[in-house]
């Protein structure tokens, strides 16, 4: 078998495409995942305001808490680009620190989600109770599963980093995981705007938003 691969800056470049095969595969996967999430988000929006029984979004969604978890996830994206930057510069201490921070922030985000789901369940909102519950839990759980998978991937990379198997020579491995992590972040950006900020406003009485007062 002929080797049609060259190494440039620690990246394996496929000579027929001119790009890293690993990176190309990840972008193709992310492209398919965009369509995957697109269909779920479209389903949520199509069933928006169609629940026949409560609890309704304005009774359940807690925007302040979700804003904090959104901020945590956004900052984890910053953490992973910094980890990659320092790994490429072979500054291993900083690279490990930021990768660990990303993992902690990811676990924090999942913690917020678990709290939120438990809170909803206590309020009687479950996946089977109405259309809002079904579509909301399906979409956010799917996103949560992506985040969880990302955390496991990053833990694996951190262990490799400590063992000396991940360094500036093969930083592409962290870059690929970073692309996945950023993708999870941008999906949440859309979910936060559509599922939370827009939906929480559905049916809000003239008195204002429930958690601000006047409900």
């Amino acid at each position: 078998m002929s080797t049609d691969v060259t190494i440039q800056h620690g990246e394996e470049i496929n000579n027929s495409t001119g790009v890293s095969a690993k990176k190309l595969l990840m972008w193709v996967f992310l492209g398919s995942d965009v369509m995957f999430f697109g269909t779920f988000i479209a389903t949520f929006m199509a069933y928006r305001n169609k629940s026949l029984v409560g609890p309704y979004p304005e009774d359940t969604l807690n925007i302040p808490i979700t804003s904090v978890s959104t901020f945590v996830l956004l900052m984890s994206s910053l953490g992973i680009v910094l980890a990659l930057h320092y790994l490429k510069e072979a500054r291993m201490g900083l690279a490990k620190f930021w990768l660990l921070m990303v993992i902690i922030m990811g676990i924090g985000f999942i913690g917020f989600q678990v709290y939120e789901f438990a809170h909803f369940a206590n309020m009687g909102m479950t996946p089977q109770v109405n259309l809002f519950g079904s579509t909301f839990f399906t979409l956010t759980s799917l996103h949560g599963a992506h985040v969880s998978l990302g955390i496991l991937w990053l833990i694996f990379l951190l262990i490799n980093e400590y063992r000396g198997n991940l360094n500036s020579e093969n930083a592409i491995d962290l870059e690929i995981a970073g692309l996945y992590w950023h993708f999870v972040d941008i999906v949440w950006i859309v979910i936060f705007a559509l599922l939370y900020l827009i939906t929480a406003n559905d049916g809000v009485p003239p008195g204002g938003i429930p958690w601000i007062g006047g409900h």
Binding site: G31, H85, G178, I189, A193, L197
Partner: protein
């Protein structure tokens, strides 16, 4: 500090300087109250970078700060009753802005091979088409009624 100096200082030590020029002669380059700021700001991404033409840590912090500010504006917008009638378009615009910033700068699509942009944008267009068709179908055929 060197970043601030690069951006704002005029010829070394002064934040700004009123140029002393002969009315008949043309102003020399950058001889205006803001010194070289305007010229230098054209290369802001290079100044913020690690100096190698690639993005550096300061650059990432700036993008993250912008993302944080946009998120704060989103939440603030949601809490102002007078602005709620504009909530949907505002949230869509803010989301597109944040989405674009992360994809272009954190995911390096702006600097990477065009093939990656083509793949991602094509899939996104197909996804948005699914989205639009599905919403139109639900609107005109009463999906979920």
């Amino acid at each position: 500090m060197s970043l601030l100096k690069d951006l704002f200082f005029y010829q070394g030590n002064k934040w700004w300087k009123i140029p002393k020029t002969d009315e008949l002669s043309e102003n020399p380059k950058n001889e205006h109250p803001f010194g070289g700021f305007i010229e230098k700001s054209k290369n802001i991404w290079l100044i913020l970078s690690s100096g190698k033409g690639h993005a550096g840590p300061i650059y990432y912090w700036v993008i993250a700060t912008i993302l944080g500010i946009i998120t704060m504006i989103e939440v603030w917008w949601f809490t102002v009753p007078e602005l709620l009638y504009m909530l949907v378009p505002a949230m869509l615009i803010f989301s597109i802005l944040k989405f674009g910033l992360v994809v272009a700068f954190f995911m390096h699509l702006r600097f990477d091979h065009k093939m990656f942009s083509t793949i991602f944008v094509t899939c996104m267009v197909v996804g948005i088409l699914f989205f639009t068709v599905f919403l139109l179908l639900s609107a005109f055929h009463g999906l979920g009624q």
